[in-house]
């Protein structure tokens, strides 16, 4: 629609203002990650006028960045040091392996649901969707006891299974929508040429849907990366994912806000970079393929 010049300027400014409003918390937390306690616990709160330090990152990851500033010794409110690098590793292992699991199982099912006609197909899709509606707590409670019997508590395998299963409905429905975009005539002519379903799937459909599969994988990764309830319930000490670690920074003596913010910043940046790569498919993924862009 044509708009007057003043309207355009107003709209641009309003848009920037609204997004700045949503961006402010992220900016503020990231700045907290670079602060010493005295600059965190100050009233009025400081926005720019603090001495930057990388100590929070050094403590959280148990490494020395050696930038020279922030060398004086401090003790964490909880006492001792947090060595979070292995914990970040836990999150990476669980999220990537559960993604592999979900995508492998889901591509097979999604291809079938996209191409084959069989009785009850619509009901089957609805059943898959309905598993997405289960409240995590209703799964976590029985899973805790089942895992306890199977010795899967506090293991990578256990959490990978649960996160992979949690992402299955998303992956199936999303991949189905990507496969639906590839014309079925290609399959049919290959079938007439004597190719098997499996060959068509492997040689034609999978390569054509590469972008969509990558986007689905990224979303599964993000949902596992951010998941809290299962990770909290099904692990104790052996494995701790990033969200679970973050909740342990609150101690009776105080909260390690600086370390918390450093961990948060470190957790957000890689996830955000990955999301930017699949931004074109983001909406489709968030709506499990029900909206196309």
């Amino acid at each position: 629609m044509p708009q007057s010049k003043s309207m355009r300027i107003f709209r641009t400014l309003a848009g920037w203002l609204v997004v700045a409003f949503f961006f402010f918390p992220i900016f503020f937390w990231t700045s907290v990650a670079f602060r010493d306690a005295k600059d965190i616990f100050s009233w009025p709160p400081k926005f720019f006028e603090f001495e930057p330090t990388v100590r929070n990152f050094e403590q959280v990851f148990g490494i020395s960045l050696g930038f020279g500033f922030g060398t004086q010794e401090t003790v964490n409110p909880g006492g001792g040091n947090f060595y979070m690098a292995p914990r970040l590793w836990d999150s990476i292992v669980v999220a990537s392996m559960s993604t592999v699991l979900a995508i492998m199982v889901a591509t097979l099912a999604a291809y079938c649901l996209s191409r084959m006609q069989f009785r009850g197909r619509h009901e089957f899709v609805n059943w898959v969707l309905s598993t997405r509606m289960m409240p995590p707590v209703a799964v976590a409670i029985p899973m805790f006891f089942i895992f306890k019997q199977l010795n899967l508590l506090d293991t990578y395998l256990g959490l990978i299974l649960v996160h992979g299963l949690m992402n299955l409905p998303l992956a199936v429905l999303l991949l189905k929508s990507f496969f639906d975009d590839i014309p079925a005539e290609i399959d049919e002519s290959a079938l007439l040429d004597g190719a098997s379903r499996w060959t068509i799937f492997k040689r034609i459909v999978l390569p054509m849907a590469k972008g969509g599969i990558a986007a689905s994988a990224v979303l599964c990764f993000i949902f596992s990366w951010t998941e809290f309830l299962f990770a909290l319930t099904l692990t104790q000490t052996g494995i701790k994912t990033v969200p679970v670690v973050s909740s342990t920074f609150v101690t009776s003596i105080g909260t390690a806000w600086g370390n918390m913010a450093a961990l948060g910043a470190a957790a957000i940046v890689p996830a955000f970079i990955v999301v930017l790569l699949v931004q074109r498919h983001l909406v489709r993924g968030l709506t499990m393929g029900s909206l196309k862009q």
Partner: protein
Amino acid sequence: MSVTQVKRIAISDSPWPWLLPLVSLLVVFTIYPLIYNIWLSFHEFVPRKRALVFVGFANWVQLWHDTRFWGALGVTFVYFTIALVCEIVLGMAVALLLDAELPGFGALRAVLSMTLVIPPAIAGMMFLLMEDPQFGVLTYFLNMLGLLDKATPILATSSLALAGVLVAEIWQWTPFMVLIFMAGLRSLPPEPYEAAMIDGASSLQMFRRLTLPMMSRVIAVAVLLRGIDLFRVFDYVFVMTSGGPGTSTYSLSLYAWQQTFSFLKWGYGATLSLVSLAIVMILANLFIRAFKVRW
């Protein structure tokens, strides 16, 4: 089964070889836990005996008389309603604002998607810091605007705690709505708008008569997906208030979790989680039917 037989099944057009891995995993993940949960809801853990004891319908009767359960159900519904309404209205407003090719708007959309990759537990912790009565930046702004007395701790005041949690929720998930609505707005056909312009319709009329009806499917999908997540809210309340002060932010999921893992009421926790499951299933299915949402 010989290898050739397996091969023959795999290349036939039966859907089952393709669906079998999915079905077997979903059965393990949904049907078995469901049965286990139902079984558990008729038992209770007795610490003295260190064992589960059959208690019949005791857990279900207890549920009926448990004021904390009804309270948690109320909190969940209030949280659900306020968050959903705010996220839809704000999301639609921002989407309409940003639905234009103006300088920098592409980058703005990317910035909005940032909120979606932050683990809610971390977002909750960060809002906890921002709402701290002694040095929180949100407290500071509210003081400056004269909306809040400096002495009032938001998350420790029963009338404000839920609002304090909702701020984090709405902040994190409004961008989700914005992105979905923006995708919907872009797919609208231009012709009806051109006709309406010629007829001299106001932009408000166009929004009500054209945009809203054409967007109804997109809105229904957004409401369904967000609604399911809102009803099972756990992360924010767990890290920000643990249900307190008193029971003013106890959600159903948090209550079920605490009964099971803090109070070791395994059977009662399972009963509560089953109720939560039943409510989500019934509401979601009614919604899917009423608004003809399809995948």
